[in-house]
């Protein structure tokens, strides 16, 4: 590569070695295309979310003790349980709550503690001490927190359309069907219903009639219980030893059967349940947890009447793409639309973290591109358009490498990752700018005629290698300690110290490999020596 009649330039820095190695290598272009392709793939495959995942682990231990007062619960349940839980390592806070009839102890682990381990430790500790449970308590319930599964990414409110006459029970039945279908969608974890009213046979006893017929509530309870039993089929045998299967049918088939239950006999005539109580097929009247929705109709500006609703919540599995899951859920809902229309019910998507994540990511990608264009335009004025193109090319290459590394290390694309990219954008063009500026200067130097293009490019790159390395290293070093910031904020910001150093290192390699390579393709030695303005020197 070097001309023999000249003194060969001694490559001293990694920068020069890289530049020299890749300058005439046909694979350099392939490598560039490959990197950008990898980055593009990573951008599309990586799970997207709005905020980065914070590893919060914790759980609640619920110990019911019917009839106990808060102070009793505090003494016999909360205090001993808290003491025992102190033995578990990694717990930051223990919150105890002593209420009427029940004691609850919440534990919060330090941020970043492994979730599965933490859940296991908590369960283990409670189970180990089951023998010390005071008498009269019921089985303790251990409920670990699980952010991914607990926080729904999509919520849908189903409501009957005005004048459709759809009852709450029918609404619930359809929603339950939809729930079954949604749970079969890939990566959907937990689905729950809120505000659901279930079908129920209600027996509302009139106290006046009760005393008139000389009856007690207990009698009525026994009468109903004795009728509503299910028994498995019994097998009888014939003399030929063949089986005859027969069974008692449940005596209660519909709500009328309940009303016709005979409660007692009074003066020789039977008293039926419907005589002393109102027996209806209805909803669970004891459930006070209801939900309503108000919304504007498509054309109107005013809110419509409030309607009873059932909200279906959908959560996703950890580490899966919220955007994809939400889209799949929407597809399932679309397939039901005709049915909903027929039944006279409507639905509204009241939360969709999938689109929110997608919008947040796309908006930032948009910002990123605008910023790159602005910097490119600035460089056209400062260095010339060919140089500007070279520097601008390095940016997607660097971001592609960073994205790919982030993908390999199991990160997700979220707001903070993209802010890390935006933050590094201003820094990562520097290496390329420094290299291109030096090449530019060499091309306009006095002795440009005497040098081969190859040698000139390698020399220009190599010269600035050492100071650029040190300067970049200095910036990386400012970022590294940030990875050790603790607490929620630390975890929240984590993508910055993870991604900015990677981007900076990538910027060095890209600047040393591709800047000279592209300069060789795009830049020409000036035909005649002319003093460029910047070269005027004392």
């Amino acid at each position: 590569m070097q001309t023999t009649n000249k003194k060969e330039y001694q490559v001293t820095d990694v920068a020069g070695k890289l530049a020299k190695g890749f300058l005439r290598n046909p694979l350099t272009a392939v490598l560039g295309a490959f990197l950008i392709l990898m980055g593009y793939l990573a951008l599309n495959i990586m799970p997207r979310e709005e905020d980065p995942q914070i590893a919060i682990s914790g759980g609640a231990v619920i110990v019911p003790m019917p009839g106990a007062s808060p102070k009793e619960i505090e003494n016999v349940i909360i205090n001993p349980l808290e003491r025992k839980l102190r033995e578990v390592s990694g717990i930051e806070h223990i919150h105890g709550m002593a209420m009427d009839n029940v004691g609850v102890v919440n534990v919060m682990y330090y941020i970043g503690e492994d979730r599965e381990d933490s859940n296991l430790k908590l369960y283990d500790k409670v189970m180990q001490n089951m023998d010390q449970l005071p008498k009269g308590t019921m089985q303790p319930i251990v409920k670990p927190f699980d952010i991914d599964i607990d926080i729904p990414i999509v919520t849908i409110a189903f409501y009957p359309k005005p004048k459709s006459g759809l009852s709450e029970v029918e609404l619930f039945k359809i929603v339950r069907e939809v729930q079954q279908k949604l749970n079969s969608v890939n990566n959907v974890a937990k689905t729950t219903l809120k505000g659901a009213r279930k079908a129920q046979y209600n027996i509302e006893v009139d106290m006046g009639k009760l005393s008139a017929y000389h009856l007690s509530l207990g009698q009525i309870m026994k009468a109903v219980q004795s009728v509503a039993v299910n028994v498995p089929d019994v097998k009888g045998r014939t003399q030929q030893n063949t089986l005859v299967v027969f069974g008692v049918k449940n005596a209660i088939e519909n709500v009328d059967d309940v009303g016709n239950v005979m409660v007692a006999q009074y003066m020789g005539s039977p008293i039926y349940l419907k005589d002393v109580a109102k027996v209806t097929e209805g909803i669970d009247i004891q459930n006070f947890q209801t939900a309503e929705i108000l919304h504007k109709n498509a054309k109107e500006e005013q809110f419509g009447e409030s309607a009873k609703q059932v909200t279906l919540t959908v959560a996703k599995l950890a580490g899966t793409n919220a955007v994809f899951v939400a889209d799949d859920v929407m597809d399932v809902l679309k397939s039901y639309e005709a049915r909903f229309e027929k039944e006279g019910m409507g639905y509204l998507v009241t939360r969709n973290y999938g689109t929110r994540a997608n919008e947040a990511v796309n908006e930032l990608m948009h910002h990123l591109i605008i910023t790159i264009i602005i910097i490119a335009v600035m460089l056209v004025f400062a260095l010339g358009w060919k140089e500007s193109i070279i520097v601008t090319f390095t940016v997607p290459a660097i971001l592609a490498i960073t994205l790919f590394v982030a993908y390999l290390s199991g990160q997700t694309i979220n707001r903070i990752t993209l802010f890390a990219f935006l933050l590094s954008l201003g820094l990562l063009v520097d290496a390329a700018i420094i290299v291109i500026e030096n090449i530019h200067r060499h091309l306009h130097a006095h002795d440009v005629e005497s040098k081969e293009m190859d040698e000139l490019l390698v020399e220009a790159t190599d010269e600035i290698g050492a100071p650029t390395n040190v300067a970049t290293l200095a910036i990386i070093m400012t970022m590294v300690p940030m990875a050790f910031v603790g607490g929620m904020m630390g975890s929240f910001m984590q993508p910055i110290p993870y991604n900015v150093p990677v981007a900076l290192i990538a910027s060095l390699f890209v600047a040393y490999i591709f800047t000279p390579y592209l300069s060789l393709k795009l830049l020409k030695k000036p035909k005649h020596k002319d003093h460029h303005k910047e070269e005027v020197h004392s």
Binding site: I94, H95, G96, M97, A98, D100, D150, I151, T155, A199, Y201, I203, E204, S211, L215, S216, G218, M221, V224, A228, V258, A277, I285, Q286, F288, Q289, A291, E292, L294, H295, K296, Q309, H367, I370, I374, I375, M378, F419, L423, L427, D430, A445, A460, E463, P467, A471, I476, T478, M479, V480, P481, M482, F484, V485, G486, M488, M489, E534, V536, S538
Partner: protein, 575 residues
Amino acid sequence: MKKLENFIYGILNEKKKKKLVVTLTAVAFFASLLMFPTKMVLAKMLPGKSDNTFSIYIDTPAGSSIEETKRVSSCVIDFLKKEEEIMHLELFLGQGIPLDYAGLVKGASMKQTENVAEISVNLTDKHHREEPSFLMVQRLRPVIKEACLPLVKETNIKFIEQPAGPPTMASVVVEVHGDNLEKIRKVALESSKILNQTEGLVDVDVMADEIFDKYELIPDKEKISRSGLSVEQVNNILYLAFEGMVVAHKNSNNSTDQIPIFLVLEKESKKLFSKDDAALRSKLSSLNLMNMQGVMVPLSEVVYLKKVKSNPMIMHKNLNRMINVIAETDMVSQVYPLLDARGQMMEHFEKEYIVEKEPGINTYMFDLHLTDRETGEKILLRWDGEMKVTLDTFRDLGGAFIAALVLIFLLLVVYYKSFVLSGIILLGSFLSLIGVIVGHWVANWFTSETFFLTATSLIGFIALMGISSRNSLLLIDFAKSLMECQGMPKRRAIAVATATRAKPIALTAVAIILGSALLASDPVFGGLGVALISGTVAAVFVSLLFVPILMDNAKAMDFENDTCDMEHHNISITK
């Protein structure tokens, strides 16, 4: 270029001018630091972000019925209905809205009593809406509270916005620790009053059950056994009559769930005339129990009635009894109202308690220790919530910053093998702090809301350290080669170096400024953007004016002509 070179040379050559630059820099530095105590620049962990949703928590006092809760909720909804920007709103009675990040730490998933309700409000898209959600909340909060709070006494209505960063229980949390339940309850209530009066704090709530009247039915054991009944029977019938019970189930082929058969007294039959013991007694007398002999015994015959106070929930934190008092900030940083409230509390509790401050500096440094003047009982007022997280974060970021300083210093010492030169570079980059602080002050002018110095500003500053140290680094490198390889006199060399490096320094600075320009418009990362932009501007001035003076004064900068190291001959490129 020549002009700049001569300008720098002129400064270096005259002692007076040198002194002037140094004094100006020092004045600028201390003046910018003074912006903190004078509250020209306010600090906060994370600012609010405009979102497409917010929620409202309604808590009627413990022991309220679902109908009372609904009455308050309807009142709130009537106000919300008038808002044009609200797309839809959902009311969840007796339960929380589907869990979100804000609700996660506020215990929304635990709600299952009749005295709670949550409203979820969905707004139109934030890009097409003029009013940010936080301003809307600020506007609605006083109006709604004034109209709806009096409906049921002691009701609490809280407006919950989605957190910009990690969620916290509340902006300001006062934990009242102590062993005496009545006393900590009293202190908690008094603290909540003080917080209520503090400007900038809203949605104050004591996280304790209100104490309400209830009736205790004391079974007369002798009468019960003589009537041929059992206590268990009494309990069951009472529960059955008023709460109802599922007594049987029916399976069905064409229903998605089992159908329960529910037995309860008719609504009209179980309603009491009024809320007093006579009404309750008359109701109980009409409720009969059947004994083993088949004789009916009225319930009122076998129980006494006693009016008692309800037992409030007892809360523990880390094994100590505690009551939380929480408050949200109204578009201001929590630091300043917190300090105000703390001062008020110290004054208020002075009468009954000996008030001591937390000794030493740690992230609990605002805590107050109260000792009862008579009994000697100790109560601890601990500040938690966002304040604690802020202090922890700022402490950790501060630590990260110092670690970054040390690492850069070591790196430079390895590179230059001189402590003085490394020190110059560090000092130069540290001065970019001037720009960061002033930048926030300026940004505050241009924004309608307060522009806070946030955790992200600190991250920006840390990143700046690296960026501005590079400026000085290239400058020193350049001047060094000029002196070594061309034998230029020191002052001239520094001036030439500064003038030639001005272009790439400015170029990279412009790249950073343009790169951060879009960051600055983001509510959360605005601090980072502003810190980078203004810090970079300051860094350019510092490295072009202040650093050359330091270099000139440093003996370590005296390089000999003959030591020219061919490895560092990047000077040749300029010739």
